[in-house]
Amino acid sequence: MTHRSRRLTRIATYALLAVIAFIFAFPLFYLIATSLKTKADLFAPVPSLFPPAPTIEPYISVLFTRGFDGLLVNSIIAGLSATVLAICIAFAICYPITRLPAPPRLRAFVLNWALSLRFLPPVAVVIPYFAIVRTIGLYNQLPALILVYTIFNLPLAIWMLRGFLDEIPIEIEEAALVDGASRWYAFRAILLPLSRTGILAVVIIVFAFDWAEFLFAFILTATPQAMTFPVGVQGLVTQFEIIWNDMAAGGVIAILIPLSLMILARRHVMTGLTFGVIREK
């Protein structure tokens, strides 16, 4: 290939990538634009691309007039509690299989079992959970969601944490043990501080998953007392007449939290989504 034609290919490729990027970005742009429109703008004969008079009124309307601030709090409480629980359980499971001489078959069993849960469709699981939750009187209560979220995101937490722990050399702890430190001390003073970044990444990603969850919350809750934010947003869509700007504002708020968290933990997102098959160095 000549220098000139190579240059042309390059320009053509960049142009193509720009077009692709535009197609992907446009729906997102229109969501934000709509979320900034006034009520009056909704009655324009042809909807405009840009908000004629940008306003944050729809956000206020969604959060306070419609009381979605309560749903936001529910989502955060359910997500944080389930994340903390999942991390603690994942640590208790990952510690013996990464820091102690666990038989390889036991280790493989635990990891495989966790991964197999990833292949279960939530709708199949929610039917028995619905019965359990009603029987033990947790229907329309946040603890039901916390329980289900903990179990459902535990596989992700186990696989991610195990990846991080495997990368921390065991020699440092062994040196401390040889020097007479207790195992508990080696865990608390060496392993825990060394795995801080990993734990933070798992917390962020598991929380983002909990935040986005819809089906369980949709079926296991009924009133704003326990409803989560995505369930509220869904309610804005399927009602008889859609208030477009409020719906868009709800969508933007639902996106903002996982998006900002994922940008913080960007190096670990793909590891999480592929159960550690893809690693970003």
Partner: protein, 311 residues
């Protein structure tokens, strides 16, 4: 226990107990610690996660009014023609979305890998590609409601089709399928891109250089040098995406609610409808059991091919 007075049977039991105990003591202290730490936690998690399976089976073979009903619910579930309709629609959805995502993601990864040298631009594309993936499915539904809805949707406005004869993307049969599948493509092509792009980085540069010295053209280089490195990742993506298509629910529920008719009543929406719209929890449990078993079989087969190190 005084040994002289025990009969043969307890003595034997004692011997087994002793054998287990001595096997236990023969393990190193550390190995014993593995079980002491792992069993209580993993055991309880395992039980809690397995209860739904057991309960689904119980729900499927019993009825509140008639007690044990045997395989009635399974017969009704598997005899319902709507089940096969939903499987067919799910398959069509997958047949539209998955090849587009995989070829599209692979193509873009190849383009970026070959032409974009600047690490700043690569990093920018990395972040940009992550955005659709991290958007909650419900919000994805909201976004595309704004694209496809009649009258207020921007697509028909851009196409200049705002009159009474505008295409009804969400409520006419072939279009609703295309619309819901396109949303899947929008959200997951970047995911395939990210995996494939990471895959291209694992191809050793020596092999590529050697091929170029031998005069390989761009296609041969892709086909014979790079593709073999990508193959396990392509399989991985395919498996993950198939599992995801089975669970597709949120964005379709928001966009079409499964309609029009049964056009977008995919498997998850169908089970939801049986269980919670028709309140036929017996039939829904039978479906849940069938799906759980099918996915377990699928996973067992798939896990042999997954490139992850298996622990």
């Amino acid at each position: 226990m005084p040994g002289s007075r025990v009969s043969a049977v307890p003595a034997q039991r004692f011997a087994i107990g002793a054998r287990i105990r001595s096997a236990w003591m023969a393990r190193s202290r550390q190995e014993r610690l593995v079980y002491q730490l792992l069993l209580p936690v993993f055991g309880s998690v395992f039980v809690v996660a397995t209860i739904p399976f057991v309960l689904a089976v119980i729900q499927a073979v019993t009825s509140d009014s008639r007690g044990f009903v045997g395989f009635d619910n399974f017969a009704r579930a598997l005899g319902n023609p709507l089940l096969y309709e939903s499987i067919k629609q799910t398959a069509i959805y997958a047949a539209i979305a998955l090849p587009t995502e995989i070829l599209g993601g692979l193509g873009i990864a190849l383009l970026v890998h070959r032409t974009v040298r600047s690490s700043a631009i690569r990093a920018a594309i990395y972040i940009a590609a992550m955005i659709p993936i991290v958007i909650p499915q419900i919000a994805v539904g909201v976004i595309f409601r704004l694209v496809y809805a009649p009258d207020y949707g921007i697509l028909n406005v851009l196409l200049g089709q705002t009159g009474p004869n505008q295409p009804l993307w969400l409520s006419s049969p072939p279009l609703a399928m295309i619309a819901t599948a396109s949303v899947d493509i929008w959200q997951w092509t970047p995911f395939v891109y990210l995996i494939m792009f990471a895959g291209f980085q694992t191809v050793p540069s020596e092999s590529v250089e050697a091929a170029q010295v031998d005069g390989a053209n761009a296609w041969t280089q892709f086909r014979h040098i790079e593709l073999p490195y990508l193959r396990p990742l392509l399989l991985l993506v395919l498996f993950f995406r198939i599992a995801d298509v089975i669970r597709v629910f949120d964005h379709v529920y928001v966009l079409t609610g499964g309609g029009p008719g049964t056009t977008t009543q995919f498997l998850s929406l169908y089970i939801y409808r049986i269980g919670f719209k028709f309140s036929d929890l017996g039939q829904a449990s039978a479906l849940a059991v069938v799906v759980m078993v099918a996915m377990t079989v699928f996973y067992t087969i798939v896990s042999r091919f997954l490139p992850a190190d298996r622990g």
